[in-house]
């Protein structure tokens, strides 16, 4: 135990918080030593106040842990804080934690537009992590903040960036069919979604259109230079528990063909910076050749819920190509993504790997 890195989970009782708790059970590098919650739960043991929603059982290690206030002062031993905080609280609390010397691996959207805060997707841009040194200099922090993208962004940015690297991507349509778990708990009312589709998710389309430009951007001279890709998004909620499905149409800079696109996806390899991290799946992109795949229910849970599934690459009549991607929104798209980001940092800063 002693050799593990002590970490904390902020907002540990919510739906993303629970995924952190579950995925960090028996983690080879990290040990959860502090957990926080909102005022009404502070001082109580986790199992007493947490309305557990996952199909995996609540891990033993957390049951008796006492919930602490969500503030920097609570974190006496953590080196990394995994944040499942809502954006309006994250914006206040996360900087105070970073200032104290702790690295915050955040799932909140609060700082994604800050040019000094990287939106990390290890499959795509682990080098953006280096901007943390500039962040520390600018803000006088000894810790730092790095974030996840939105859970739908991550579901298509991995294949898009892979294709971009080979052929350049100029424009892309992203049309999503998103799981209800993306809205947290209680989130979407059953009366709104049984036998229904809701063709609107507040603020979501803007995130899908902005975040890839930063993630796919180039880090040099202490700056992330945004990618010039133009994205147009349509976001929809559908009656699916977990995993977002995204239909994509896109144009490439270089002229190419369907087979070459598929080949680029099938031969995807993780960047060196995130090879051998504990939570990296054996495949980053799984390409499905069956005409009716990927599908959320069938594909979300393979590879530990951490792979991006792609299929149906075919020509497009307006842009150049069409394809479909599926990704587990609460694992790859939230807690699992933040943990991989934390592992990236730990490999770099704490000598792990």
């Amino acid at each position: 135990m002693s050799s593990k890195i002590p970490v904390s989970v902020l907002a540990a009782t919510g739906s993303v918080g629970q995924r952190f708790i579950s995925l960090l059970d028996n983690h080879p590098w990290f040990e959860v030593v502090e957990i926080t919650a909102s005022d009404k739960s502070v001082g109580k043991p986790y199992e007493e106040v947490c309305h557990w929603l996952l199909s995996e059982s609540m891990p033993e290690y957390v049951k008796k842990m006492e919930l602490l206030p969500t503030e920097a002062a609570s974190l006496k031993n953590s080196k990394i804080a995994f944040s499942a905080l809502p954006a309006e609280i994250a914006v206040e609390v996360e900087p105070t934690i970073a200032k104290k010397g702790i690295y915050v691996s955040s799932n909140a959207s609060s700082y994604r537009k800050n040019p000094l805060v990287p939106i990390l997707v290890p499959e795509v841009n682990p080098d953006h992590m280096m901007i943390l040194e500039d962040q520390q200099k600018s803000y006088g922090w000894s810790g730092g903040i790095f974030t996840n993208p939105n859970c739908t962004t991550v579901g298509f940015v991995v294949p898009l960036a892979t294709i971009d690297r080979k052929f350049g991507v100029k424009k892309a349509f992203a049309f999503s069919m998103q799981a209800v778990s993306g809205a947290g708990y209680p989130g979407v009312a059953s009366m709104d979604i049984l036998d229904n589709v809701v063709p609107y998710i507040g603020g979501e389309e803007e995130k899908l259109e902005y975040e890839p430009t930063k993630i796919m951007g180039c880090f040099k001279d202490h700056k992330i230079e945004n990618h010039p890709i133009v994205i147009s998004a349509h976001t929809n909620r559908v009656p699916v528990i977990d995993a977002h499905t995204i239909c994509l149409s896109f144009s490439t800079n270089e002229k190419t063909d369907v087979d070459s696109i598929i080949n680029a996806l099938e031969s995807y390899e993780f960047p060196d910076l995130c090879k051998d991290l504990p939570s990296i799946p054996s495949k980053g992109i799984v390409y499905h050749r069956e005409p009716n795949r990927p599908q959320p229910r069938l594909d979300r849970s393979t590879y530990g819920g951490m792979a991006t599934h792609v299929g149906r690459v075919r020509p497009d009549h307006i842009l150049d190509f069409r394809m479909v991607s599926v990704s587990h929104n609460t694992i790859r798209g939230a807690a699992g993504g933040s943990i991989v980001n934390g592992e990236c940092l730990a490999a770099w800063k704490f000598g792990k790997r």
Copy 2:
């Protein structure tokens, strides 16, 4: 009764056939006098062999009617035949019926690509009906065949054609989320669609890309000249019982703005040729200003399931505009559409209205 037009329903026991039977109950112009089915049901009363699937009760008039063989010889009194035949049977049987002097209002896809067979959408192109005279001359028929579009095409071609008429539409993306009833019965297995999305419907995308070019085309000099619009489609099956939802992105020839597009949709009026038909709803296009509408469960059944619901008109970053449409696939998109088409014809050929 004597003044009503005698009509028949071909393949009356299937899911589309049942909608015909239900919608023709107490129809002011039409009286069902003959119904057909496949061999194993021939000679039996309707109520004995029909596995009724609708939530409305089976109409009294049809319960004791005897099912006839699906062939021209069965239709001794019909002037119009509403066809719910599967494409592979329609291709053989419908011409023999047309030859006999009966007008076939077909829901089958078999003849949609025939340049002499109109794909009728009364909201858009009732004048295409006139090509029936050329059809009669060419084939030596005294009746004729006219068809419905695919149930997803009709869900977006009405607003698209309306916008086209004002501003011209050059290109359009159509991303669909389609109800399971579109696949007939038993159709989609529950294990394939509960908690799931299937991002593939065989042959569907081609239909959505072709049919609007014909429907939005111009009829002149005895020809339908196809519209030059280019469409790219992504079709998906979702766990919804009835009504297809379509997200659209499109570009216009004439530069315009969101308000003008909404205004064009809200001020839509039926063409003279289909005004006052019995099954025409009080509104052809219902524009919803709430940000999260239209929705299939909430909007499909209003206006008798015959209106097209549109919402969320907003700018697009790649083409010019985005919007969402919803339409009832088994009413407006199948039996209801064929009945309106039959009414169009009856107004023209049989002096109704």
Copy 3:
């Protein structure tokens, strides 16, 4: 207009309130003149604050009506108040309205156990209404309170009471599969019910075990004498939008057989006191002879959502018989039931019919 009875709807913006508003549109006897809501909506027009959930459109008459505070003082013209109030507010407000001379047709559970307040089910016990005179004497009211049963109780008490009248019913098991709309809006979270069953609904089993003893009881000598039937209930929530399904096993006093039970159900007739009320369906009990019926999606909406559907009467191995019933929980089981109750009263007190 002048000849209609002026009525009000309390808590008009919630899910049951909306059903009242919708079902009272063009009601032949009643005219809605006053509507109330909670403080934050008071003073605003209905359409501005109501998050409309029904698939029928919001009626025109209510759109501009101003929402009043939920208190007796607001009701200046109503003779009957339809109450969709939550129990904890109903308990305070309803007596003050009754005192003012208004009859409250309540959907709340607050007074169902009060021996002077009838739980009215017109198909079963319209005579219990007469206890209102004792209620007035005891409390010094010039109006009164009468209630609906719980939306699941009403789904099985109609067939059970019908069988009881002929053969006597001693014991019954009621095992429910209840729609999500029974929990109001937002009510059941989609994450709790998609691909799931929740075998628990707080407080529900007690209601199903108590209410039928009162409804099936005998009114004489100014008292409702409870029926000695013993009921054991299992209540479950399932992913269905509307309509509760109840499996029943029961024993009879008099020895009888399946055909006689079915015959009793099929020959059900409304009591004289509720014949010809506007909202009474053409059939009170619809018996289905198909082995796999009734089903909520297929049967809930026929007969205006006001009939009780029964099927599968067969012998039981422990008690005497088994059967299945289905009833629309938000129409027959809530607003529609209260409206029929109001019609019963109007026929008696206001000379209607």
Copy 4:
């Protein structure tokens, strides 16, 4: 490899067959050496003809295996055959395989009523296996047939038998809410079950009423003496993918109380005959103290899908107690159950453990 027992899977491409294939991947005792399918697939590699339905990936070992005809002659090396055959084929084929000296662990219902064929539930009656010796003598077989119960029976017989052992159970009601996967693939049409409940499953109630009398029976003097318990069942299909939920009411011979019942369930221990079998979960019965558990989506997959989940033990007003149980129908209730049965046999006959 050499020390593993060679086994086969009959009807390996269907939904239960796929579960066998998946659960036998890397099995510590068994190695799949032969797989069979229906005529049209014979001679082809598994991966080519199998429409894989599970969310786990298809195991590597089976992809290239050739499908053999479903007949005894195909099984040249198997010692145990796991049968996912439909009942009408099992009735013909299984005896020819048993005759050849192979033990058939069957999931088919064909021989469950044969007094010499045990319905094995290792948690309850592993000793019934001994009747195989009488079966061999009677039929002149060197192998034998033993079966699984119906997938719903197994979901409640484990707790019921556990309570029976302590207090005796006289009568029981079993009300089921069954997953669609219980009907195989394609099985239940989505149009029949979305937003719906089907209160009927052909032939199911009889199985639930008969099978426990045999499983809970006593094996002595070369006979299984059926248990005198009387069961009454109501079976329903609900929109759940996997896991059946059963509400139970039951009476005991010995007077006892809720706490003692719960204690009996919580202290359940596997019989010696099935201790340490590879597929036996760490807990046979998981008792949930939360009032709203067990639930199919949350509880089905814990303990490898092999445990029976119980909750809500409380008094009953007609019989003595009520409770709820949940069990994974395609794992514990089908392939997983047959595999444990095969392990039981292997421990006895092939010196494993």
